[in-house]
Symmetry: C2
Subunit: 145 residues, 2 copies
């Protein structure tokens, strides 16, 4: 059995790839039975598409792998707290569990009431949070210099 | 100049096509300068993808037409009040205006606080609402018989 840290490290690698491609560095993987069945990294610039967030791409990929829309027995690992759009998608997918790295007080879903997530979805926050946040801080720091 | 009713009728045609394909009948078009630059109909079943809502597909298509992510000078016409996911996408797109047919008290974005939409987005509701709602009522009525 791999740990939450292990899969978050996979998501972090995807986030780094996004940053190297000039995208805001966010990465996500969907795991079922200890196996990655979908992954994504932010590609909004490359694809000229605001919907191409890491989570959205990972959800779509996981559904293709499974051959079904619902991810009830899956865990999403994501380096940054999902935005409202991604939380809405995770609701429709009825994702079983979400593991979050850095929080996002400004754009994260958790500032909304009532919660946009599915009531059955379990949430874990703060996994490799420092590493996830450092990637974002460095990215925006570079942009400003 | 075409009217809001005109473009909503286009969205309704797309919604009908979705219903005929066995999808929940929702359709959407994105209009810029009186011209349709993106369209979508619900394809979640066909694509096995919870993210394939009419609005998401229309937003992505419009951005491709424009060659840019932002839809600040565009209007989205949609036959049903957008869900949280689609509202989140419309926020990122900074859509200028949203014209809505039927409301959706159960899954619509408007039950959330604070509003997930962009503060600059203007909203119009109730355009061809009876026709938009009838399509959904008939669809779910057929499912139940």
């Amino acid at each position: 059995m791999f740990s939450d840290d292990y899969f978050m490290a996979m998501a972090l690698t995807l986030a780094e790839e996004a940053g190297e491609a000039g995208e805001i560095p966010v990465g996500a993987v969907v795991v079922a039975r200890n196996r990655i069945i979908g992954k994504g990294r932010n590609q909004t610039e490359q694809l000229t598409d605001v919907t191409a967030h890491a989570e959205m791409l990972a959800i779509t990929a996981a559904a293709q792998t499974l051959g079904g829309k619902y991810l009830t027995d899956c865990t999403l690992y994501v380096t940054l707290e999902p935005c409202v759009m991604c939380a809405g998608a995770l609701f429709w997918a009825q994702i079983g569990r979400i593991v979050i790295g850095a929080d996002d007080p400004k754009r994260g879903y958790s500032r909304l009431q009532p919660s946009p997530l599915h009531p059955k979805t379990r949430i874990e926050t703060g996994i490799l949070a420092d590493e996830c946040r450092a990637l974002l801080t460095n990215f925006f720091g570079r942009l400003r210099t």
